[in-house]
């Protein structure tokens, strides 16, 4: 009995040791990033001795980043894009996914295959034809171009469909017998049930749009339309020596993403639970 308890305690200790090591691995780069963001170039690479907080923290990095490039404008654009894309993505994906999961119709499989096949295609392959086409639509150098690119992704539909398939068909059938239209079933039964999945998709879309680089690079050319990731890259090319500044920018760009994640993480785990199970 005693040895069993000892074993259990030893097991617990082991678990915590592993957890702390992993947590450390995950967090070290961010501590480093924070620390580097208040250092001068010379201090960043100083190892012996390594100091976490330099004697004279270079807080000016956090100030310079707003003045050296039009960061405020970039933030504004990125926030706008991210919110619109996320909203559209949630709306259209859940709408389409309902149909794929709960309705029977002609060409269902063909249509769905079209969605799935595109996930496996790297964007670089069709970027040029896409660009030429988008320009024909007059979308070059417009924020709208990024919205069109990002808002209708196959991934969102795929994910939402997985989730809806887990919701018992009986629920819909019962509603249909009650004379509810499909639109009402979607709005009053499916949507409320899919909060976790919607949260999941929110995070994924938010992170993707927020961190996108290649899309804005090709489409957004005027200074007034650029995004944070383009701004960070501009730093690296123009002030490539200035690690502190780059890190300060990176820290700033992380904050909103983390905030959204923290707000939604409760739903998030549940959300994936429902989509992940059936695969």
């Amino acid at each position: 009995m005693k040895s069993a308890r000892k074993k259990a305690i030893a097991g617990k200790v082991l678990v915590y040791v592993i957890l702390i090591i992993i947590a450390a691995l995950m967090i070290i780069p961010f501590i480093w990033m924070l620390s580097a963001s208040i250092k001068s170039d010379r201090e960043v690479f100083q190892m012996n001795p390594f100091v976490l907080i330099p004697e004279n923290p270079k807080w000016s990095n956090y100030h310079d980043i707003w003045t050296k490039i039009p960061m405020l404008k970039f933030v504004e654009n990125t926030v706008f894009l991210t919110i619109v894309v996320t909203f559209l993505q949630l709306l259209t994906s859940s709408f389409a996914a309902y149909s794929f999961a709960k309705l029977e119709f002609k060409h269902k499989n063909t249509l769905f295959f079209a969605y799935i096949a595109t996930i496996a295609m790297p964007w670089q392959v069709y970027m040029v034809p896409q660009f030429i086409m988008m320009r024909k639509f007059g979308l070059n150098d417009k924020l709208l171009a990024i919205i069109c690119l990002q808002a209708f992704s196959a991934f969102g539909v795929f994910m939402m469909k997985q989730f809806y398939e887990d919701i018992p068909d009986e629920l819909c059938e019962a509603a249909r017998i009650d004379g509810m239209s499909e639109y009402r079933i979607y709005a009053s039964i499916m949507l409320p049930l899919s909060k976790p999945a919607l949260s999941t998709l929110t995070i994924f879309t938010f992170v993707n749009t927020w961190n996108d680089y290649l899309g804005p690079l090709i489409y957004l050319k005027s200074e007034a339309k650029k995004t944070i990731q383009l701004g960070l890259k501009m730093f690296i090319s123009q002030y490539s020596s200035d690690y502190g500044l780059i890190m300060a920018g990176s820290v700033l760009s992380l904050i909103p993403v983390l905030a959204v994640f923290l707000c939604l993480q409760k739903y998030f785990v549940e959300g994936v639970a429902s989509t992940g199970l059936k695969g």
Binding site: A36, Q124, F261
Partner: protein, 298 residues
């Protein structure tokens, strides 16, 4: 609306109306260019001049292309390394974080940090940590393990660059797949474990006979997503191994980088599409095999 429509027609219409908002956007902005790009593999085009038919010549040219072969090899090695490692790491982490441990929420959040962070930011940090002569990793190897200066690992070149890329991906994406596994674990009934405990099963046996089989469909999902994402690796290679003129050397080039290079540096869009076809077929075949495998075991 139209009275003459049959019930099935009506149902179809309703279904299409659900799909339409997304599908129209998707078809116009994604599907059409993709189909066009697919067809391009059999043509020569530079994005401006008239398109000319090339037949299979792009594919024939691939067979003698040193960089393509290197990219193919590196991509496969990267996938073979990353997929199982990420899977094992994320599963292990999920199992640990599924226990009743204090601060579970914090640990879960921390594991998700790398995934949400922007790649530009985390690769910069990573490159500092693994800096061949000044980074703390090599510093520890030098001072603690007394690895001679000349033998310190060069993490971003030669044979090690793929190792770095694999390690980096595992680190960056394990939190993401951990969450999926966590979800899978939560779906396993606690009764199964209780019954097993009564039968005197040890921890390993419980994993072997309950957890693993119950997680089969989650694992399938994880592996398929991982495979697709690994074959599409691009940014990680550029940001970890690129430098100087930004060119990747033969030991670090990957398929999507080569696609990018052929398309946007050399403007051989047809050839680039041919490379993409190879990539697509590989993903397709691997996914199909996984799909078959999964069905067999179910």
């Amino acid at each position: 609306m139209a009275k003459g429509l049959s019930r099935q027609k009506k149902r179809d219409l309703v279904a299409y109306s659900f799909i339409a908002p997304n599908f129209i956007g998707f078809a116009v902005f994604t599907l059409v260019p993709i189909v066009f790009a697919f067809a391009l593999a059999f043509f020569n085009w530079d994005g401006s001049n008239p398109i000319t038919f090339a037949g299979l010549s792009n594919f024939k040219q691939l067979t003698g292309d040193v960089f393509f072969k290197a990219a193919l090899k590196n991509t496969i090695i990267y996938c073979v390394g990353t997929v199982p490692l990420t899977m094992i790491a994320s599963l292990a982490l999920a199992i640990v974080l599924n226990q009743k441990v204090v601060g579970r929420g914090i640990f879960r959040t921390l594991s998700f940090f790398p995934y949400v962070a922007s790649l530009v930011a985390v690769t910069s940090v990573w490159k500092m940590l693994f800096h061949p002569s000044k980074g703390p990793i090599n510093n520890i190897l030098y001072t603690v393990f007394h690895v001679p200066m000349e033998q310190l690992p060069q993490w971003f070149t030669g044979g090690l660059v793929l190792v770095s890329m694999i390690l980096f991906s595992v680190w960056k994406y394990m939190g993401y797949y951990m969450v999926i596994y966590l979800a899978g674990l939560q779906g396993i009934s606690a009764e199964l474990y209780e019954a097993a405990s009564l039968d005197g099963a040890n921890t390993w046996q419980k994993f072997q006979y309950i957890t693993w089989p119950q997680l089969r469909s989650t694992t399938f999902f994880v592996v398929v997503m991982l495979t697709i994402n690994c074959f599409k690796v691009y940014d990680i290679a550029i940001m970890l191994a690129g430098g100087g003129s930004g060119e990747l050397t033969i030991s670090s080039t990957v398929l999507v980088y080569y696609i990018y290079q052929k398309a946007f540096i050399d403007w051989k869009l047809g050839y680039s599409s041919a490379v993409a076809m190879v990539l697509f077929l590989m993903v397709f075949v691997v996914t199909m095999i996984q799909f078959r495998g999964q069905k067999k075991y179910q």
